[in-house]
């Protein structure tokens, strides 16, 4: 397909990109990996007049450690997250999620900022970023702010990002000791997106009870979310098969599930429950004590 006519601008820096966003206003769209935007433009469902390309902005790309946190630049491609040694060693869940995205071409083009900002209900990253309680940095020409993952995803394709803001990075606390994780995904067979994706992270206390359980669910509802009932059901408990099963049974509570040709609402809910159970089990099995 062929997009409508547009003007392409290559930003040299975040400041440069912010300036252009201010200048062009609603007529501008940020281009990073382009995996969501370009197909929409080719179908002429999106017809931005100006494209501001931030993929080449050096300060937006890469992984760094900063004050005990791990910070990932917004324009870092999935493959760089998946293969980065710091991420693999200290933030294994994120590496696992990143490596489950799309295929090798997608992972070498798509970016973490692009994925989060698009808030596709079936994208993988949101599940991981929620389970990891990531903090998302948004910058505009008037300053910057940090939004917790929990508050970032608002609705279908809608986030807390305001006009004129750029998602410049996400920061995470490294996995604490006695922590295990897993990302399990039921792939939509055509697109590779998640029909349901479950990111689970479990930290045990010295006695072997659950100190902290965090679960991120993608694919099930209009936006990725943390199933509070699952997390709280296990808090302080011994994670035996019965307790995990009881907790996981709440994975779809209160959610209005999506339904399409690939999976009905019922089946999606059941997958969420089954995969939540399995992801928590796998996370615990991986804890090194």
């Amino acid at each position: 397909m062929f997009p409508a006519s547009f003007q392409y601008h290559r930003a040299a820096s975040v400041k440069d990109a912010l300036g252009m966003l201010q200048q062009f206003g609603d007529d501008a769209k940020l281009l990073s990996g382009g995996h969501s935007l370009l197909p929409m433009m080719k179908l002429r469902l999106a017809q931005p007049t100006h494209l501001v390309d931030i993929a080449g902005v050096a300060e937006l790309s890469g992984v760094r450690e900063e004050g005990g946190k791990i910070v990932i630049g917004g324009a870092t491609i999935h493959d760089n997250v998946a293969s980065n040694q710091i991420v693999r060693n200290k933030l294994g869940l994120l590496a696992e999620v990143a490596s489950a995205i799309g295929d090798i071409q997608v992972r070498n083009r798509g970016t973490i900022g692009g994925s989060l900002a698009h808030s596709d209900p079936a994208a993988d990253y949101p599940a991981g970023v929620l389970a990891l309680e990531g903090e998302i940095k948004l910058e505009s020409s008037s300053g910057s702010r940090v939004v917790k993952a929990q508050d970032f995803f608002v609705d279908l394709l809608t986030t807390a990002i305001k006009p004129g803001e750029i998602l410049t990075g996400v920061s995470f606390t490294p996995h604490p000791a006695r922590t295990g994780f897993a990302y399990l995904k039921h792939r939509q067979p055509a697109s590779g997106f998640a029909i349901v994706g479950i990111a689970a992270m479990v930290t045990l206390d010295a006695k072997g009870n659950c100190e902290r359980v965090r679960v991120g669910v993608t694919g099930l509802g209009a936006k990725a979310f943390r199933p509070a009932a699952v997390e709280s059901a296990l808090a302080g408990k011994k994670p035996d098969t019965g307790a995990i099963g009881t907790a996981a049974a709440h994975a779809a509570d209160g959610i209005d599930p999506l339904s399409d040709i690939h999976a009905s609402a019922d089946f999606r809910s059941e997958l969420a429950r089954v995969y939540t159970r399995r992801a928590i089990q796998q996370a615990i099995a991986r804890i090194k004590t």
Partner: protein, 781 residues
């Protein structure tokens, strides 16, 4: 090959000679053709499944700078005739290249914009105003048969294109004498062929010489030329059709399409080269689909598992219009539905029905996957009903080795076959008794392992000319020219049109061995009607069995001529000569030889003419096969079903194929791999879905599930070799075997896994949710 000479290339794993240019980006596909002043054509397509066209306003589009022309159905009415159906049908609708009065499926071309580039043409489409009145839509072929169904072509009064019955043997007696009759319904869902390269055409008209050149991504350039000549009213000698690199066809590029006609018509109308390139969404909506066959089966059997006959009723979804071979495909399914088995009587009724969908046509296997699915599901159903082993029920009913050549109930004659060794080999590979024991053990612990078996036979080497529809252009024969150039290198022109099959390699292997030269001394040329003599093209696994046989005829003529020349030079009778290692030598003493080049020099130089021998070394062969070939084999798989999620996992996949003599095992394996992938895709993943309004829900590759490597098993391949007596090469064909054998094999395996739940049948694709729901329902019951 002369007696005593060991083949050097035939039978060996020669790497594809096509690949270096393709994988290094040096292939030329249709979209790579760029001509000075070339315009771009883009089609406006119907958003409705069924609607009346009240009016089309193209004025604004025509005024857009850069737009050269905008045409609608009214502009071609009376100027371009209906598009072509070559297969016989009772009710054949008028099928204009651009819709007139009504649209009948989503994606039907309504108008075409021609502009200086595709962007401008696309902009023009946005400016075209079409006033539609939506009409009731019918997408379910069984509902289309109901009395109050909306009628798609009013002139026929109902939605039936064709009703046909075939009956053979004493089917009524078989039904009477059976201990029981096993009845069930099968659905071969609708599939999209999805070649990696979509369709495309470039047309160039020279008004001075009144000569048309058309590049098209086609499987049969000569057939396309003949059909276009008819539609455009041009003589064939003033038309050149070129199939450059073609990135996959799978049957869907055998058809003659509206866009090919329109691209040529526009080039002639505008006196400018015109290019049309299909987009993927168009490919999924408007390139011919495959399968879409509902079958009601009745199998009369004895209690010992002996099958006495097979009766079927076919509901064939034809879509809105008939394409080139749309009505022919279900017939193939019926003729082959008794499979590898002794079935003395058969009958099938075909009801071909119009719906508001794209037409299906040939798709990898074209009727044989459907046939094999019927035969193999029948075997599994018999085994299930009578509590017999699925392998043994097959063995019991196989046509025995001694019976070949074997005439089956439909009248077809299977050339050669030996079915048991292939079954035995497949069972041996999966260690059948052991895996059955593992299955039994697993079931005790909630593991659901299934073993799938499919013994297939199919029909290849299409085929003797009477096998093709009477009104089809070309024939069942094939052609080749061989030319030894003045430097003793060889050019082969083949009438087949390979597009992935690898005949540039396998034909070079044949020629190199026959002429005792290197494989790099042979170039195989195809796909250009101005260069290559008339041929029918590549489909139905005919390339090597028919095209290769034609090449052998040409080779033998060349050998005879060269031996005659050498004979006078060596003073040895021609029948004592052979080709060996760049020479023509005495068969009895290879050291007594002269270099080929000397013979070639003598022929081209012609300084010392030999009486009765013309100069030059150029020979042609046209081969009409006497019959079809019937490859066969057994595929076996071991799968595990996750009862909580319905996900199917492969534990083993074994394919034992018998395609007769093998020229290049690497090419055969490549064909089998790709075939299995597409067959598994039908069993588990792929499905073209239209909603009740006729909207195509699988309109992009984000929703149409072409399999990825991770969705496929590791293939374990083996073969038996039963040469065909039909052609001089002993080959049978292997282009479609993988597709045919794998679909029923996987379904058989999944249903075997689900046996503890009492689930007897599920319609493809066996998606996780379908399996999960069946398990849920079984658990509730």
């Amino acid at each position: 090959m002369a007696a005593g000479i060991v083949p050097k290339f035939v039978g060996s794993r020669v790497k594809r000679r096509e690949d270096p240019r393709l994988i290094s980006g040096n292939g030329t596909y249709v979209d790579d053709i760029k001509l000075p002043g070339m315009l771009a054509a883009v089609m406006l397509r119907s958003p409705y499944g069924h609607a009346k066209i009240n009016s089309i306003d193209v004025e604004a589009a025509k005024k857009l700078p850069g737009v050269v022309a905008v045409l609608t159905g009214e502009d071609i009415r009376g100027k371009l005739p209906t598009l072509i159906t070559a297969a016989p049908a009772q009710n054949v609708p008028y099928h204009p290249a651009l819709a007139q009065d009504r649209v009948r499926f989503v994606g039907e071309a309504v108008a075409v914009a021609v502009a200086i580039d595709q962007y401008t043409a696309q902009d023009a489409l946005d400016l075209i105003e079409v006033d539609y009145d939506p009409l009731p839509v019918i997408t379910d072929p069984e509902k289309a048969l109901e009395a109050d169904a909306p009628v798609i072509h009013e002139q026929f009064g109902n939605n039936i294109s064709t009703r046909a019955e075939v009956k053979s043997g004493e089917i009524d007696r078989a039904m009477r004498e059976a201990d029981r009759i096993i009845k069930f319904r099968l659905v071969n869902q609708r599939l999209a062929p999805v070649p990696m390269e979509p369709r495309g055409a470039v047309a160039q008209w020279n008004p001075g010489s009144e000569y048309l050149t058309l590049w098209s991504s086609t499987q049969g350039p000569h057939l396309l030329r003949s059909y276009l000549a008819e539609v455009l009213k041009l003589p064939e000698h003033r038309m050149r059709v070129i199939a450059p690199e073609v990135g996959g066809g799978f049957g869907c590029k055998l058809n003659v399409y509206a866009e090919e006609v329109m691209t040529a018509y526009l080039a002639m109308l505008l006196n400018k080269p015109v290019k049309w390139i299909e987009r993927r969404r168009e490919n999924l909506a408007t390139t011919t689909h495959g399968r879409d066959l509902i079958t009601y089966i009745e199998a009369p059997v004895k209690n010992d598992g002996t099958i006495l006959g097979l009766k079927a009723r076919f509901i064939c979804d034809m879509g809105a219009y008939l394409q080139l071979l749309t009505p022919m495909v279900p017939g193939f399914a019926g003729m082959m539905m008794t499979g590898c088995y002794k079935v003395p009587a058969m009958a099938f009724e075909q009801l071909m029905v119009f719906t508001n969908k794209m037409a299906p046509d040939a798709y990898r296997g074209a009727g044989r996957p459907e046939a094999c699915f019927i035969a193999e599901r029948t075997m599994d159903m018999i085994a299930l009903e009578l509590n017999l082993d699925p392998a043994e029920i097959r063995r019991k009913n196989f046509i025995p080795k001694e019976a070949f050549p074997a005439q089956i109930a439909s009248g077809l004659i299977y050339d050669s076959g030996d079915y048991e060794p292939a079954l035995d080999l497949a069972l041996k590979h999966i260690d059948y008794p052991k895996v059955r024991a593992e299955q039994a053990e697993g079931r005790k612990h909630g593991r659901y392992i299934g073993i799938g078996i499919c013994s297939y036979v199919e029909i290849c080497g299409i085929g003797p000319s009477p096998m093709l529809p009477p009104s089809m252009k070309g024939g069942g024969w094939e052609s080749a020219t061989i030319r030894m150039e003045p430097d003793s290198k060889v050019t082969v022109l083949t009438g087949v049109s390979p597009h992935g099959q690898g005949q540039e390699t396998s034909f070079a292997q044949l020629v190199a061995d026959e002429l005792g030269i290197g494989i790099d001394d042979v170039t195989v040329v195809h796909g250009d009607t101005a260069i290559v003599q008339y041929g029918t093209g590549t489909f139905g696994s005919r390339g090597t069995s028919v095209g290769g046989a034609a090449l052998m005829m040409a080779v033998q003529k060349l050998q005879a001529k060269m031996k005659k020349i050498a004979s006078t030079m060596m003073e040895v009778p021609p029948d004592q000569l052979t080709f060996n290692n760049g020479t023509i030598a005495m068969a009895s003493d290879l050291t007594k030889s002269i270099p080929l080049q000397r013979v070639v020099d003598a022929s081209y130089g012609h300084k010392h003419p030999i009486p009765g021998i013309e100069p030059g070394l150029n020979e042609a062969g046209f081969y009409e096969p006497t019959a079809c070939t019937f490859p066969f084999g057994t595929h076996a798989c071991v799968v595990e079903v996750d009862a909580d999620t319905g996900v199917v996992k492969f534990l083993r996949y074994v394919a034992v194929d018998d395609c007769g003599r093998i020229i290049n095992p690497l090419l055969v394996e490549g064909q089998v791999h790709g075939g299995i992938a597409q067959g598994i895709a039908q069993a588990l993943y792929e499905e073209v879905i239209y909603d009740e309004n006729g909207q195509l829900l699988t309109a992009t590759l984000m929703d149409y599930a072409v399999p990825k490597a991770e969705m496929l098993p590791h293939y374990e391949l083996d073969s038996t070799v039963t040469p065909s007596p039909i052609n001089p090469l002993g080959v049978k064909g292997v282009g479609e075997a993988g597709t045919i054998g794998s679909t029923p094999c996987v379904v058989s395996g999944v249903l075997d896994a689900l046996k503890p739940f009492g689930i007897k049948n599920l319609d493809m694709p066996l998606k996780p949710e379908k399996i999960w729901r069946a398990i849920q329902a079984a658990r509730k019951a």
